[in-house]
């Protein structure tokens, strides 16, 4: 069997070469015996992500694209750390450094590029490096540990990404650029100036129009000397002035080489059976330096090798995105208007937004975006399609959102996605074509997450997300709409499914739910854990033991965390009605614990702000008041006005009713915070009509209002009904709150919940007297089991210990049983 297979050798274990192999394996898995030589001691990794690794966001392991198992599973012989030295095209053999040889029928050259090192005196000193591979990345990380000052020569994409990474590593970074503005190959002047300003704000320094003459220092770089005689101190010099196709081997082996290895539209070189792809190849005069075109070349070559007829590669239009956090830059196509072209510009210095579109013969041929780059992918796709944009120019320039562009809102969006050719690349970073995405959708992917998972589209820079979403809408149709998003990334189950399963199977702990419902993340996240904790507590008030480790800080420590790590303390003052004695006590506690700030809150309570964590139990003990729960997804406050007790307009005892309700519902956990208010007349001084449950007194009874919110989205309440007696107010309030507790999604306040389920539905449920009484009884039962958390913590050492620091360790000689590493030198 095996001797029938042809032998394929790949020289260069990098992005373009291995991508070609991946493609070939899909098309013709059994055609070749494959051998790969790679000079680097690593499996194929995502070189693009080196910038992210350097900036500290990703680990080296995470950027591996094909791990060693992949090579094994596909029967590929991999020689890592083995640079090929010689190709004998007569004998069809390659020879590597370590003495390994291999025979080939077909040979792919994919040796990539080298960082171009300026040929200046001192460029060979220690501490002078390029930015190309893992080795360079490690060298920079190491340098940052020992040295402070870094110079990056080159203000292009690569240089700026290197500089940003070095800043993150704590270095003092200066970028030296020969041109008068940055990234001149991708940006026009205004965009470049905005970029420079933003990067300066991030702490980057620039020396523009500077030409480096030599690197100073003895063995290690110490600084740079410029043509104009000035100098800069630097113990790390990163050269990011460009790349040079890596053609040394090709030249030695008789391949036709100009700037890169010359190839035709089928990636064939001048020698029989030898092909080239990637940055080392030169096609129609161009050697590309970005992944998207290389992947297109790879696709053409893979088809050719698989024996599938293919139209040749015709070259690519490229686009770039700067991967520096806090700066959004996009550039695509021809961005400096050629003769006969028109440019449209939009510039907003305040918001830091700049857009430029270049239009020739009614077609979009280039774009530069700064500050807002959401439309980048959609515009790029218009550039590539070459369709007419006549009449739509302004729309394109002025904030037609990417969504609208992609989903057809702006005329031509959906149509354009539909018309897009199957092999057009949608995700440039990972070389995913429209065809790949549509195939994934046909194969059952119906959410962005799933498409990302199986095609890697939008998994790197995310710029193409709107397009992927657009394709999903078109090709998954209703399936995409009905796809259920799980409550968080750890599960695909919805809130209702989870609650139903907990009930059906009698699940009793967070861990159990996550296990049984097959969470894809063993210990959940900060979204699902608190919600499961809530659902379990709501469903099993008697048995469930609240898991404080699944609650947010505030609910775990029963106070509100501040930005400096201190906490605020709001004791419960029922209905906002206090007394001189209580006020004096609060004042004394504030003095005793040197509380930095005492404030009346918007909810009619007193807030002691800036309490140190270790003082919290002491403060609570001294206050001897219950927790005001100003920190929890729980009943917060019941605001009241003076009402008939003093007010000349008051019709009922608003304060009395407020205090009663607050006593009835205090300590009530809920899907989100719950606020009540009681006003003594329709003048409504307690603002009851923007509360979750608002009570407004009228002559002869009480109006009940629900679903109000004065927060992010103001929503006035809906009128639930009218009742005559005080007991009825409590019963209806109780039933409403319990129905909300049992049915809302965690973190959903009553306002959106009432809108979602409909007021009529709520009314219908609550008007059934049996149902209302049952709801009321269930809430009562739940609340009767609760205790005041402050009192509990104060009296239980096991809980209280968590507020204290561990004692600082003594110096070693004093502590017991320590192993010390003796200093080498005295």
């Amino acid at each position: 069997m095996t001797n029938k297979r042809k032998k394929l050798v790949l020289v260069g274990n990098g992005m373009a070469g291995v991508r070609t192999i991946e493609h070939l394996l899909k098309l013709a898995p059994d055609l070749y015996d494959i051998t790969i030589f790679g000079a680097e001691p690593h499996p194929n990794y995502n070189r693009i992500m080196l910038s992210t690794v350097l900036a500290g966001g990703t680990s080296m392991e995470e950027i591996v694209i094909n791990d060693l198992d992949w090579y094994r599973e596909n029967g590929i012989t991999l020689h890592m750390g083995q640079a090929v030295q010689k190709i004998d095209s007569e004998q069809r053999r390659v020879y590597a450094e370590g003495g390994i040889e291999a025979e080939y029928d077909e040979l792919i050259m994919a040796t990539g590029s080298n960082a171009f090192m300026l040929p200046i005196p001192g460029a060979d000193k220690e501490g002078v490096i390029g930015f190309r591979d893992i080795k360079d990345c490690v060298a920079m990380q190491e340098a940052s540990r020992k040295h402070r000052k870094a110079a990056v020569i080159g203000g292009g994409l690569l240089g700026l990404e290197a500089a940003r990474g070095l800043l993150n590593l704590g270095m003092d970074v200066t970028v030296i650029h020969i041109n008068e503005y940055l990234m001149e190959r991708q940006l026009d002047r205004p965009a470049s100036l905005m970029l420079q300003k933003e990067l300066e704000a991030q702490g980057m320094k620039f020396l523009l129009k500077k030409q480096t003459e030599s690197v100073l220092g003895k063995q290690r770089a110490k600084g740079l000397l410029f043509k104009d005689g000035s100098m800069l101190e630097a113990d790390l010099v990163v050269m990011a002035v460009g790349i040079r196709p890596n053609v040394a081997l090709a030249q030695r082996s008789g391949l036709a080489v100009e700037r890169g290895v010359v190839v035709d539209d089928h990636m064939r070189t001048n020698l029989p059976g030898v092909y080239a792809v990637g940055e080392c190849a030169q096609h129609r005069g161009i050697a590309y330096g970005l992944v998207a075109p290389l992947y297109e070349q790879g696709a053409v070559l893979a088809k050719g090798l698989a024996g599938i007829p293919v139209e040749g590669y015709a070259g690519s239009v490229t686009s770039t995105k700067l991967k520096v956090s806090g700066v959004d830059v996009f550039s695509g196509g021809i961005f400096v208007e050629p003769e006969g072209a028109r440019a449209l510009r939009y510039q907003d210095e305040i918001e830091g937004v700049y857009k430029k579109l270049v239009i020739l013969d009614n077609k979009l041929i280039g774009a530069v975006l700064f500050g807002e780059t959401g439309e980048g992918a959609a515009l790029f796709s218009l550039i590539k399609s070459g369709e007419s944009v006549a009449g739509r120019e302004k729309e394109l320039l002025l904030g037609l959102s990417a969504d609208a562009l992609a989903s057809g809102g702006g005329g031509g969006g959906a149509a354009r996605l539909e018309a897009m050719a199957a092999d057009e690349i949608v995700c440039g970073c990972n070389g995913v074509s429209k065809g790949d995405i549509v195939a994934a959708i046909d194969g059952g992917c119906n959410s962005l997450g799933q498409i990302k998972g199986c095609t890697k589209a939008s998994a790197s820079c995310g710029g193409c997300k709107p397009l992927v979403e657009g394709l999903l809408q078109i090709y998954a149709g209703d399936a995409a709409v009905t796809v259920k998003e799980g409550i968080c990334g750890c599960t695909t189950h919805s809130r209702d499914e989870i609650v139903a399963e907990i009930k059906r199977m009698g699940l009793k702990t967070v861990k159990e739910v996550m296990n049984v419902l097959e969470w894809n993340n063993d210990e959940g996240c900060s979204k699902c854990r608190p919600s499961l904790n809530y659902y379990l507590g709501m469903l099993w008030p008697a048995e469930y033991k609240d898991e404080k480790e699944s609650r947010f800080t505030n609910e775990r420590y029963h106070a509100n965390i501040q930005k400096d790590g201190t906490y605020s303390v709001i004791p419960r003052i029922y209905g906002g009605v206090t007394s001189p004695t209580e006020l004096k006590r609060i004042a004394e506690v504030a003095e005793k614990f040197e509380v930095p700030l005492v404030k009346f809150t918007g909810g009619q309570r007193l807030d002691l702000l800036g309490v140190k964590k270790e003082d919290l139990p002491g403060v609570w003990e001294a206050l001897d008041m219950p927790s005001g729960h100003g920190y929890g997804k729980a009943l917060r406050t019941v605001k009241t006005c003076v009402g008939s007790t003093f007010c000349r307009f008051g019709t009922q005892d608003a304060m009395g009713m407020g205090v009663r309700l607050e006593k009835a519902f205090e300590r009530m956990n809920a899907p989100a915070k719950v606020k009540l208010a009681v006003s003594g007349c329709p003048r409504n001084c307690a603002e009851a009509t923007v509360k979750d449950f608002g009570v407004v007194a009228v002559d002869g009874g009480w109006e009940l209002h629900v679903g109000g919110n004065a927060g992010i989205h103001v929503r006035a309440t809906d009128l639930l009904g009218f009742v005559k007696t005080d007991d009825e107010v409590e019963e209806w309030a109780s039933a409403f709150l319990q129905y909300y507790r049992e049915n809302a999604t965690w973190n959903e306040r009553t306002a959106p919940w009432v809108e979602r389920v409909g007021l009529e539905h709520v009314k219908q449920v609550l008007s059934d007297e049996d149902e209302r009484k049952a709801l009321h009884a269930r809430l009562r039962d739940t609340l009767d089991r609760t205790v005041d958390p402050w009192k509990q913590i104060v009296s239980e050492p096991e809980l209280r210990k968590n507020f204290e620091r561990l004692p600082a360790p003594q110096s070693q000689s004093a502590s017991v049983q320590v192993e010390t590493k003796k200093e080498e030198s005295a």
């Binding site: 900036a55 210990e523 480790e549 800080t553 965390i561 204290e804 620091r805 004692p807 000689s813 010390t820």
Partner: protein, 123 residues
């Protein structure tokens, strides 16, 4: 002050609740100790790389702590912030002995005790 850096005993495993944390001061630095579900203890500088949030107050999910201020996720093993955020905190090696003592490896010798941290209820 002449001792070399090395391992110091900082408490017992039972001082930290499962998936909980404790703080301690060493050489003017606040360190957070976390107890993971498998009983392992992780130690990091108690300062979020984002805006200095106190990590000890965050929720522990697997080997990751969610900062209480803006929910950055910090991998306690490497100290790195997880995607999409970028940043890093110093980590310290720890060891839990059979007897349940927690040892911390410091890079610098102890400079003397910080009175604020000197509680007496732990041996």
């Amino acid at each position: 002050m002449s001792e070399a850096a090395g391992k110091v005993r900082v408490g017992r495993l039972s001082d930290i609740d499962p998936l909980g944390s404790r703080r301690l001061n060493v050489n003017g630095l606040e360190i957070a100790l976390f107890r993971l579900s498998d009983g392992e203890v992780m130690a990091v500088e108690n300062r979020c790389p984002h805006k200095g949030g106190v990590l000890s107050e965050g929720m522990v999910c697997g080997p990751v702590v969610h900062c209480p201020l803006h929910d950055w996720r910090i991998d306690l093993r490497s100290g790195e912030a997880l995607d999409p955020d970028k940043g890093c905190v110093t980590t310290f090696e720890t060891e839990v002995t059979k007897e349940g003592f927690i040892f911390l490896t410091l890079n610098e010798p102890i400079e003397g005790t910080d009175a604020a941290g000197a509680d007496s209820h732990i041996a």
